[in-house]
Amino acid sequence: MEDAFSTYHPIINFFYFVVVLTISVFFNHPVILGVSLISAIIYSMVLQGWQKVLKFNFLFMLPMLIIVALINPLFNHAGVTILFYLKNGNPITLESIIYGIVMSVMLVQVIIWFSCYNIIMTSDKFIYLFGRIIPALSLIFSMVLRFVPKFKAQLKVISNGQKCIGRDITNGNILMRARHGVTILSIMVTWALENAIETADSMKARGYGLSGRTAFSLYRFDKRDKGMLAMMLGLLLLFIVGVSMGNTFVQYNPAIVISGINPVTFFSFFTYFIFGAFCLMPVAVDGLSYLRWEKMKAVIPEKEFHMEMQVSVEAP
């Protein structure tokens, strides 16, 4: 399934990730982190399927979370609530444990967000966004992305060919292996230079080097993108207002102070809610497009069509 959010303009995609990642890195508030973590997991499930994400999270993220959470109190002894002393006399404090947990959650959610980012922000979107600054660079990027896989494939071909005559880097002692490696490299370089001539011909034949080269892209900033951007900016503004009211203030050292949750005021809840809405926007977009598709599918007169088919078959 193609993700509906990824069909938006690259600026929208990029803006979303920049905001979400910035907020989740710079805000230590536990509610914000929790909301961000849950949204990241939900979105990655939408993108990669829930089984894969659950497996990944339990196998890699959970152990990492625990390790990072445990390491902090071992090295950080600041805080006013001392729980007990280690044998060497260092105190273990409640504050450092809590802070360790917060840090590890932050780390984990940033990794999950980046896994989503990698799926949404494909290379061509990235090239489009940053190629604007230096147009020549965008072509070079694109060419590099073309050549790297090509070279890799050819390297494999050459290496397999050499393996057949016992001259791969896996054959012989260290000295022999090094020599074979150099031979393969030399073959590779020759091949690359030879092919580059034909590529250069193909580029020249299509007028590369003429003055006034333009940069084409598939993306259009249409009404839908404008609406999305307006919504994102609106939510961000409301969130900033909420932040400036002090709803996300937090302090872990020396004593823990978390504003906004004890008691939960209307404004603090509103701030967290706004942030959650922002984080879950792509999921909402996907959900809406799914519903729309289902609605459109329901209109297709499938049964009648089959009946007609049957009649026409049986008639003669």
């Binding site: 073309r146 494939a153 580029m203 299509r206 007028g207 003429l210 333009t214």
Partner: protein, 263 residues
Amino acid sequence: MTVLRINNLSFTYPEMNKPALKNMNLAIEEGDFVVLCGKSGCGKSTLLRHFKSVLTPYGTRTGEILYREKPLEEADLRTQSQEIGYVLQSPENQIVTDKVWHELAFGLESLGYDTPTIRLRVAEMASYFGIQGWFKRNVVELSGGQKQLLNLASIMAMHPAVLILDEPTSQLDPIAASDFLETVKKINRELGTTIIMTEHRLEDVLPVADQVVVMDEGEIIATGTPRQIGKNYGPLVTICFYRCRPRCRFLPRWNRIWNARLR
């Protein structure tokens, strides 16, 4: 109208005694489908490369090449890039960018078209060549046949008047080659593009060729419609055809087919 005309063209590669092309005379009409044949090393590719200034090899040249009755050199790079399309042999090496759509747009970008125009042309070509299904893919994921089709489409996006193909199917499997040649024929038939090609799979292109040029040792030994050539030069040319198909082991059978076609 004569699109390309060669008058007394001779060409010698540097440090070679024997000329690669000798006293060539050829006229190609607008909308023609011209097939060049001859055994390997007879100068087919050298001749084709002379039809586009940027690809012309270094060496000593005498005689002249006229594009629309004017010396080819007078047409600048922009005109030549746009009007004379050149598809090379290797499907792999001609592709410059990483995405199919970007490759289609490459020539138009070089020519400096604006985004709406490129969008239109690219869309047009993608649907003409049946590329829409893999339009957004990476080129690495394509098969050889698809790659060569993409190369053809990216040339055709510039709307050339003349399309030159230098053994475009030599690295394709038989089915992909057949498909590719069908597309070339379709371009000639529907868009009226002049086509000049060298090809080993003659049985696919001869039926539609308007003019066949048979070369040997850098000389044109016969030109004319496939029928005329068969009639006038029969056995000699048949051997030439046979020679330009190195993988064909069945000369007698081929001969029979060729004769049957003439009748």
